[in-house]
């Protein structure tokens, strides 16, 4: 290449590359700015998401509290509707009167304690082979079932629906229980 032409080429290359570098710098600056904007946007979106999640969580908690309060209230109302006078008749010789009185007066701890005491009494040693023994055993079993039902009513009046429901389900599923139908009725209304 002749000197004159080479000089022109060199000059053109220098000008071109200088210009190119300037535009490349503009591009990299632009990308940097966009990256920053993107990061900001992501942060903004994240903030909105966090806010939404927090609001949803708070809403869930509020609704949960409301549902629980309603459920507890309903449970109490239902429990208060059960007439305990019917439960005082003990078939096997157990005295339920103090327990029903304690429940009616709202002394649930006393009632629980008394029920626990009755449960702790060892089962009488009747001979199921004899007619008399079998009868006594059935009466004792009926008393224990009444105790369970009393316990469930006590829990309902205390406003403990989950535990009460568990106990009522157990009573309702026992086909031999005297309180089967009452427990099923309460469960349906809960």
């Amino acid at each position: 290449m002749r000197d004159e032409m080479e000089e022109m080429v060199a000059e053109a290359v220098r000008d071109k590359e200088a210009l190119r570098d300037e535009f490349a710098a503009i591009e990299s600056g632009l990308q940097r700015i966009r990256k920053v904007h993107k990061v900001r946007k992501v942060r903004k979106v994240r903030r909105i998401v966090y806010l939404c999640v927090s609001v949803a969580a708070v809403a869930c908690v509020v609704v949960g509290i409301f549902v629980r309060r309603t459920s507890v209230g309903d449970c109490r109302t239902l429990g208060n509707g059960v007439v305990l006078a019917d439960l005082t008749i003990a078939r096997g010789g157990m005295d339920f009167q103090p327990i029903t009185d304690a429940i009616d007066e709202g002394r649930y701890e006393d009632a629980d304690r008394m029920m626990a005491e009755l449960r702790n009494i060892p089962a009488p040693d009747y001979n199921p082979e004899t007619e008399e023994g079998s009868y006594r055993l059935a009466l004792y079993k009926a008393d224990m079932q009444t105790l369970d039902y009393l316990q469930a009513v006590s829990l309902m009046r205390q406003g403990r629906p989950a535990k009460a429901r568990r106990l009522l389900k157990a009573i309702a599923s026992d086909s031999s229980s005297f309180w089967k139908d009452s427990a099923s009725g309460l469960l349906e209304r809960m």
Binding site: M5, M8, A12, K16, E17, A18, E22, F23
Partner: protein, 208 residues
């Protein structure tokens, strides 16, 4: 961002305004990328940006030097995109001829001057011209070829040699050539091919 009018852009380019450089680049960048992805098959983001930058460089230089005047009804955007399209077609043609890495000793051929003159005809074709005019016109053609038509690896070789003023061994290291002699051979091939193209262009423009 407020959209600039074509006449303001051209005025800014002629004044070589640094601010206008950025404004112009930003104004058409995204539009160009959308257009490129729609019209240039198989182009990726990096290639599109390189082509856009090269088109901006070419258009900027051409308008700044007063070697091109926008027609009254022509939009600046259309001109810029046309130049980009021309660069892309050139590059694609070169890639088809030499698909291997830029370090390949095979040097790309420059585009057919007929294609060049068809798209970007030289402005000066008068018979009665002075020696200074001839030099000026030659310089103009050289710039046009350098700005729009030189392909890899010649482009990089020229850049390292003339702009970054690297030695042959540095260029060899940078471009993964085996030794400085390969760089010298490649550079001389580039120059020779460039000389052929330029001579043809000068002859076509009746400058020699």
């Amino acid at each position: 961002m407020k959209r600039l009018k074509d006449k303001d852009i051209v005025a800014g380019i002629k004044a070589d305004s640094q601010k206008m450089k950025e404004l112009m680049y930003r104004q058409f960048r995204d539009e160009f990328l959308r257009w490129a992805f729609r019209n240039m098959s198989g182009i990726d983001m990096d290639k599109a940006l390189t082509i856009y930058t090269d088109a901006c460089v070419a258009v900027w230089d051409k308008l700044r030097q007063g070697r091109y005047t926008l027609r009254p009804n022509a939009a600046f955007r259309t001109y810029l995109f046309q130049v980009a399209k021309y660069i892309w077609l050139n590059r694609r043609r070169a890639e088809k001829k030499n698909p291997s890495a830029p370090t390949n000793v095979e040097i790309d051929r420059f585009p057919d001057p007929d294609v060049l003159s068809e798209n970007f005809s030289d402005k000066f074709l008068a018979d009665d011209i002075s020696e200074t005019d001839i030099m000026e016109r030659k310089r103009s053609i050289v710039r046009e070829v350098i700005f729009q038509d030189v392909q890899e690896p010649c482009r990089s070789i020229f850049r390292y040699k003339y702009y970054e003023e690297m030695s042959s061994s540095e260029i060899a290291e940078k471009m993964s050539y085996s030794d400085s002699r390969s760089v010298i051979t490649a550079a001389s091939r580039c120059k020779k091919k460039l000389e052929i193209v330029l001579t043809e262009r000068f002859r076509k423009s009746k400058l020699i």
